[in-house]
């Protein structure tokens, strides 16, 4: 054997000339084979595939003309993009290839950006410079950023767009949840522009909780908040019996009374369920508060807490004081001060206290708390960071209680610990962490949230948008969020508006809720006398609406205070209230307006002027619009509704001055007289 090898070696490399010849031959052979690697490359395979896909199409000639072989690339030095994805995704820009199911040949869906300006990886992640499928799409040793799953792709919009976008419902929802679910109470989230994400929920103060509820209820609540209210946003801390016992002991012992937040009324809490239900309905409590019905459906608004089992929670005297004036116990509450009479307070309180659940506290039996238990409870409260969300006397709000999430969307996978069976990708990690935070290691403090799969995906999307790229992209690309307004009305009327919590539903100068109309230009829009009457007895303008303005039982003085303020301060610079008269239009003009209303513009599709013939249910009823709105407002509204109220769904019809004038004349003549006369008869 050895002999043979030696002789072979001698034959090939026996002397230097022979060795040189052999090495040269081997070298030449490998030089000849090398291009084959290129010939068999993956992208070439896909390009061949593309040509065979388009071969039998009717537009084959056009497509073939557009086709360019070889490695393609989008190079954008400013954005740090070198994307060769178009080498395989050949048909990405071909408008006719929308019906191709076979990838990678389908046209890119329509988006507001040009592929040549942004490339691919800014939105989809992955390795742009790679020319094989595995390297481009997956994590490799040299590149750990794989393709972003399609369901999270909206996160990439959030790298530049800091505010809500029409086309990104999931990102909008996720960002909303991030501020609303309390995440940012514990986790700091800084944005590239230097601002921080602020919490929009308002967890109650626990400093006076003994006035409001019992230790037994706190215990049951801590053990399982969703057992009390399915819509509760309080997470479950999975406390043991002893821990829940000690925390409830501490909270009760630590609570100090607020003067005036417990009242005993002369009238006893009434138990008239019919009067109670009707007052609950009339006061439109359901606009903000939900109740779970027998079928298990939660019906009502989500502005205030769910009231399904409120009777098992609150102390009757506290509830009476709260219904009478919620601002005594919680000055900044979003609940309006309704100015109920004593008997109304008794009726409503009685109605609410009847909403009980005997199962809730049935198995809660707590002995008197010992000082050790109270001390232990206090320690637990600071361990679990209760003070991050709730104000608690004697407990400081902890700082940096949980890891900062400002760049969580770029967290290296090597720094993550995954659950068994979990895919090793960042989106899966984030979603898993939100879904079951305690599963990742023993002793973790993050509580269990009750979120739907859709909400978890949305939150994951929002968190993935907080990444390194949002910092490294040129600042000129950033689209700022609409500025937040902390507008507060001034003076006596301002105090009154705070007391009535107008901003819980109405928006003024960019501040406030979106349940009710924007009142920024209300002073230009309505007539003074109508506003006075509306405050005294708020009727509905839109018959199809469920949520309506409640009656606050205001005094005449309060009504004129509010009316004066609104009429003076909330005026639009583009509508001069006194520039057009409220009456005295010619019959011809009115008649022309009527024809336009029913003919050319067919307004009766959405509005009602004549209750006998018109049925439109979308816009406000206009039978009395001449007594409600100013003529100048109607005229300007006809010309361009969105200029007066951005986002209103009334279409802009680009009316001529004459048409707008005639319609104004017709509408301002609708004083609601016919109805009043009918009522008199």
């Amino acid at each position: 054997m050895k002999e043979k090898l030696r002789s072979l070696w001698q034959k090939l490399f026996g002397d230097s000339v022979r060795a040189f010849g052999v090495v040269s031959l081997v070298f030449l052979a490998s030089m000849a084979i090398a291009p084959a690697k290129n010939f068999f490359s993956e992208w070439r395979h896909y390009q061949h595939g593309y040509l065979s896909v388009i071969r039998n199409r009717s537009d084959a000639n056009t497509l073939r003309r557009h086709f360019q072989g070889g490695i393609q690339q989008i190079w954008l030095p400013d954005l740090g993009v070198v994307d060769r994805c178009t080498s395989c995704h050949v048909g990405l820009k071909e408008p006719t290839l929308t019906d191709v199911a076979q990838q990678p040949y389908r046209k890119h869906p329509v988006i507001p950006h040009n592929l040549d300006q942004f490339g691919c990886t800014i939105c989809h992640r992955g390795q742009g410079a790679a020319t094989t499928l595995a390297e481009a799409h997956s994590s490799t040793l040299a590149w750990e950023q794989p393709i972003l799953p399609a369901k999270f792709v909206e996160s990439s919009c959030g790298q530049c767009h800091r505010g809500p976008l029409q086309g990104t419902p999931q990102l909008n929802l996720g960002r909303n949840l991030l501020s609303r679910s309390g995440c940012v109470h514990c986790h700091a989230v800084k944005l590239p522009d230097g601002s921080t994400v602020k919490a929009t929920d308002d967890p109650p103060s626990l400093s006076h909780i003994a006035d409001k509820t019992t230790r037994e209820w706190i215990y049951a609540w801590l053990k399982d908040p969703q057992a009390y209210a399915v819509t509760s946003t309080m997470p479950n801390f999975k406390l043991g019996d002893a821990d829940a016992r000690d925390i409830s002991a501490f909270l009760i012992a630590n609570s100090t009374p607020v003067p005036g937040d417990n009242v005993t009324l002369p009238a006893k809490a009434s138990s008239d369920p019919i009067a109670g239900a009707s007052l609950y309905g009339e006061s439109f409590c359901a606009s903000c508060h939900a109740v779970q019905n027998a079928a298990g459906n939660v019906v009502g608004g989500d502005v205030g807490p769910e009231l399904t089992r409120i009777g098992s929670k609150v102390k009757p005297e506290w509830l009476q004081a709260w219904v009478q004036n919620p601002r005594v116990y919680d000055p900044p509450t979003g609940m309006p001060h309704y100015r109920f009479s004593d008997s109304q307070v008794a009726t409503l309180t009685g109605f609410l206290l009847a909403k009980t659940d005997s199962d809730l506290l049935a198995n809660v039996h707590l002995d008197a708390a010992t000082p050790e238990q109270i001390a232990h409870g206090k320690r637990l409260v600071s361990d679990y960071g209760c003070g991050s969300c709730h104000e608690i006397a004697e407990v400081k709000k902890p700082e940096n209680f949980a890891p900062e999430l400002s760049r969580i969307g770029s967290k290296p996978i090597t720094q993550l610990i995954f659950l068994q069976g979990m895919q090793h990708t960042l989106p899966d990690y984030i979603a898993g962490k939100i879904k079951q935070p305690r599963a990742f290691a023993p002793g973790l403090k993050m509580p269990q949230y009750t979120l739907t799969p859709t909400q978890i995906d949305a939150l994951t999307t929002a968190l993935l948008s907080l990444n390194d790229r949002s910092y490294s992209l040129p600042p000129s690309l950033a689209v700022a969020a609409p500025p937040e307004s902390d507008y507060q009305p001034a003076g006596k009327a301002g105090k009154l508006m705070t007391d009535l919590a107008c901003f819980s539903c109405h928006r003024i100068n960019g501040h406030g809720g979106d349940m009710a109309p924007d009142l920024t230009w209300e002073g230009s829009s309505v007539q003074r006398e109508w506003l006075v009457q509306f405050f005294k007895n708020p009727g509905t303008l839109r018959p199809a609406l469920i949520r309506r303005m409640p009656k606050f039982n205001l005094t005449d003085g309060e009504v004129s205070e509010l009316t004066d303020y609104i009429m003076t301060v909330y005026q639009s610079p583009s509508v001069d209230r006194d520039s057009m008269p409220l009456s005295g239009y010619s019959q011809g003009e009115i008649e022309l307006g009527k024809q336009l209303f029913y003919g050319k513009y067919s307004c009766q599709g959405c509005h009602i002027v004549d209750t006998k013939t018109d049925k439109g249910y979308i816009g406000p009823t206009l039978t009395q619009v001449g007594s409600r709105l100013t003529a100048a407002w109607i005229y300007q509204w006809m010309k361009n509704p969105q200029a007066l109220r951005p986002g209103t769904i009334e279409p802009n019809r680009a009316m001529s001055d004459e048409d707008a004038q005639a319609l104004t004349a017709f509408l301002i003549s609708q004083k609601g007289g016919g109805k009043q006369e009918a009522a008199k008869k």
Partner: protein, 243 residues
Amino acid sequence: MNCFASGVLILSVAALAASCSRKPDSTALKPTAFGASIVESSGGKQFGQAGTPLPQPVVVQVNDEPGAAVTGALVEFAAAPGVTFDPVSALTDSSGQATTNVSLGGMAGRYQIAASTLDKTHKKVELKIEEIALGYQQTLGRRLNEQYCDRCHNAESTAERVSNYDNLEVKPHPFTEGETLDKLSDADLTAIITYGGPALNKSALMPAWGNTLKKTDVQALIAYIRAVSDPPSRSASAVFAKD
């Protein structure tokens, strides 16, 4: 020799481990009954954003030959790659129904879902259900539809939104009405939306939206209308079915 033996040992242990880890999936569900047919109860023809879960679960029912519900039949769900089911297979409950939550794939288009069960002769009985995944533009169109169009063009009321359909003298066409809307070209639809019904000699109750909506908004609405049309429009997007 020693090396070789230990290699074989390691390989066989690995193979055993792999087969063990897969076992629970296949043995977890064993049908206790067999049906003759499978029908859809609810959850077909839904629209969802591509890559996201559909709003409602898909529910199918297994019946026997006389048409009575069968309890304990095994239903398996399958679709093109990218579609996920939770669960992938289920036994029918006491009312003969099996429920699964579906997430559609990342590409916009129509997805065919196959729900199958075995009959007494162990032959596969299959039901095809179609679901629609909306892309970026179509999702935008859906949002615009909900804001501006739906209250007249959709005859169904919800608790939050009362339909105006019945109040209109000339009835608007629901956007799923493929027979009618498919006959209108994109240019026709653009004209109606932009200039109102009279642009095509139709009712003036359809107002002109051209000054309110941007051109891209109108395009998005048309993309949405084409995506949800039933039967599918000529310009419908790709269909993704099981191979």
